[in-house]
């Protein structure tokens, strides 16, 4: 029947989320080399973009002469997007292999199951972010200050959560790992159609229009603050709002799909 000593629901939910996150870390720890792609992709992009487009900072409109400083937050966010999408792929695999059935048959609420996936992705995103950050510092990016660093990492973790909700939504909708490219490409497009490569004024017409309405532009700008100047609340809160908005929207979509499993 029920547990001999009944726990209050919030404690059970917390314990469940923790257990699901603990399971998620197994893939990193117990599969050799599993962490590499997630770290490699944003690092390659960072080094590559820097080597190729570094001269752009000579243009008027760049507030910094260091392209490393300019794009490192973008690369960190890309890492977050990749990590979140990977969480979606893992969920699709869990669905295909029947693991999710075990979770669905338990009394755990659906939102708890989703939270486990999403929070695990957030935690995991810190790995590539730290790696890219370290490389950027080594290459001469400016130290963002503790406040800048905190803001950047918060943005990264939250972006990973957004990406995980997106990935989870697709995984639950299509119930197949073949949705993986859509998970990855969606996040990449979202993050790069912003002021990723250059400040807003220097973007070409159509991209400028998109970047203006893209909520992730605010996230990029907020994450970039410490690297190109000082941190202000005025530049931070739009990014936070954007992330919260995306989390609410995509989280709701993903939760809806989770509830519809079997319907």
């Amino acid at each position: 029947m029920e547990a001999a000593v009944a726990l209050p629901a919030w404690r059970t939910n917390l314990a469940t989320i923790g257990a699901l996150m603990a399971r998620a870390k197994n893939e990193l720890i117990r599969v050799p080399g599993a962490a590499i792609p997630g770290v490699l992709a944003p690092t390659i992009f960072f080094l590559g973009l820097n080597g190729v487009f570094g001269a752009l900072t000579q243009l008027n409109g760049f507030s910094t002469g260091s392209y490393e400083s300019f794009i490192v937050p973008v690369s960190m966010l890309q890492g977050a997007g990749f990590t979140g999408a990977a969480a979606g792929v893992n969920l699709a695999r869990d669905i295909e292999q029947g693991w999710l059935d075990r979770l669905l048959v338990s009394p755990a609420p659906r939102w708890v199951l989703l939270a486990g996936t999403v929070l695990a992705a957030s935690a995991r995103s810190l790995i590539p972010a730290t790696f890219v950050f370290a490389i950027a510092l080594a290459l001469g990016a400016g130290w963002p200050g503790l406040d800048g660093l905190l803001v950047t990492f918060v943005m990264v973790a939250a972006m990973a959560a957004v990406a995980a909700c997106w990935g989870a939504f697709l995984a639950l909708r299509f119930r197949s790992q073949s949705a993986a490219p859509l998970m990855q490409a969606g996040m990449m497009a979202l993050i790069l159609t912003t002021t990723a490569y250059a400040p807003l004024a220097l973007l070409q017409g159509w991209l400028q229009d998109i970047a203006r309405v893209n909520p992730v532009t605010d996230v990029v700008e907020a994450a970039r603050q410490g690297f190109v100047g000082g941190v202000t609340w005025a530049a931070t809160w739009p990014g936070l709002m954007a992330l919260i908005g995306m989390l609410v929207l995509l989280g709701a979509l993903a939760l809806r799909e989770m509830r519809r499993m079997g319907r």
């Binding site: 029947m1 029920e2 547990a3 001999a4 000593v5 009944a6 726990l7 059970t12 314990a15 469940t16 257990a19 399971r23 197994n26 893939e27 117990r30 599969v31 292999q97 029947g98 693991w99 999710l100 059935d101 075990r102 979770l103 669905l104 048959v105 338990s106 009394p107 755990a108 609420p109 499993m261 079997g262 319907r263």
Partner: protein
């Protein structure tokens, strides 16, 4: 009060009715065997009863709760071991049972204790801290079963618990199921093996193409059929002739393979000489003869017109010998 009540349960997938209007009542403490071939609707039914699938018609209550309206209460009361053992190859056996305990809301310390007890009970202590990916098929099933029991459920659902296992592992699972049942757990199991239903179940429901075609205790079902049949192994090419000779003597049953003739006779062993004499007079050589008492397969044939299992399938089915 009944542990499981199913009334007019239906499930349609697009145009196809996988499950059509089935009625079941399983008493507390009973072992109910759901017997049928692949694709009959067993797994679909189990998924509906375990709240993984919404019925498109009818209703069902498990442990006193409606599967649709009180899904969460149902999930707290049932243990489930599905056909595809839902295991994570990267976890250890111990971790899996502890996770299950957490999912069921059992406090950590108690969950650990129960995990230890259950691992011992299913004889997985030695492998408990190895990854599930290294387990054999039999070990995985035992682990699945142990995990399903961590919260001491009132009703246990086992979907084809021994499919693909070797005979030794199969017997082990059977013993465990009987032990559970002795402790008072209601068991709803699906199977395609008539011996399993015969051996384990208090009540058997035979399902074919989404409908229940027969229900009752194994004994009562077999008694319904009544008559044993004689199985004759003949020389190649003589089957048709033999069948025409035997048709007036008894009722011919569909043959299991091209060299056997099956004929149902009213007087059991006493009719053997008649049969042998008739064939002998026609010059048909009989290579082997067996008097076969009714089995659940016969019940199945009676109700559906075809065999549940091909002869010899039991042994052919076995997986490599488990560790």
């Amino acid at each position: 009060m009944p542990a499981i009540v199913v009334e007019g349960l239906e499930r349609a997938f697009d145009e196809v009715l996988a499950v059509q209007g089935i009625e079941i009542a399983v008493e507390e403490g009973e072992i109910y065997g759901f017997l049928g071939p692949n694709g009959a609707g067993k797994t679909t039914t189990v998924r509906m009863l375990t709240t993984l699938l919404l019925p498109t018609g009818g209703r069902a209550t498990v442990a006193g709760h409606d599967v649709v309206k009180e899904a969460r209460a149902v999930r707290s009361s049932i243990g489930v071991a599905l056909q595809e053992a839902a295991l994570d190859p990267l976890m250890t056996g111990r971790e899996l049972i502890r996770l299950q305990a957490t999912l069921q809301g059992i406090p950590t310390a108690e969950g650990r204790q129960r995990a230890d007890d259950l691992l011992e009970r299913v004889d997985l202590v030695a492998a408990a801290d190895r990854r599930v990916g290294t387990y054999s098929g039999g070990m995985q099933r035992r682990l699945d079963l142990a995990a399903a029991l961590v919260h001491e459920p009132r009703v246990l659902f086992l979907d084809e618990p021994t499919t693909g296992l070797d005979p030794v592992s199969r017997k082990t699972i059977w013993e465990e199921v009987r032990a559970l049942n002795d402790d008072g757990t209601t068991v709803f199991l699906t199977t395609q093996y008539l011996e399993e239903a015969d051996q384990l179940a208090d009540n058997v429901g035979i399902i074919d193409s989404g409908r229940i075609v027969a229900e009752g205790t194994p004994e009562s079902l077999k008694a319904e059929i009544g008559n044993p049949h004689i199985q004759l192994q003949l020389a190649a090419g003589s089957v048709t002739e033999a069948e025409s000779i035997l048709a007036p003597i008894g009722k011919l049953l569909p043959p299991k393979d091209g060299r056997k003739v099956l004929v149902e006779v009213e007087n059991g062993a006493a009719d053997i000489p008649r049969v042998v004499r008739a064939l002998d007079e026609a010059g048909i050589a009989v290579e082997a003869l067996e008097l076969v008492k009714p089995t659940l397969d016969d019940v199945f044939v009676e109700k559906t017109g075809y065999h549940l299992e091909e002869e010899g399938e039991e042994s052919a089915e076995g997986a490599p010998v488990e560790a």
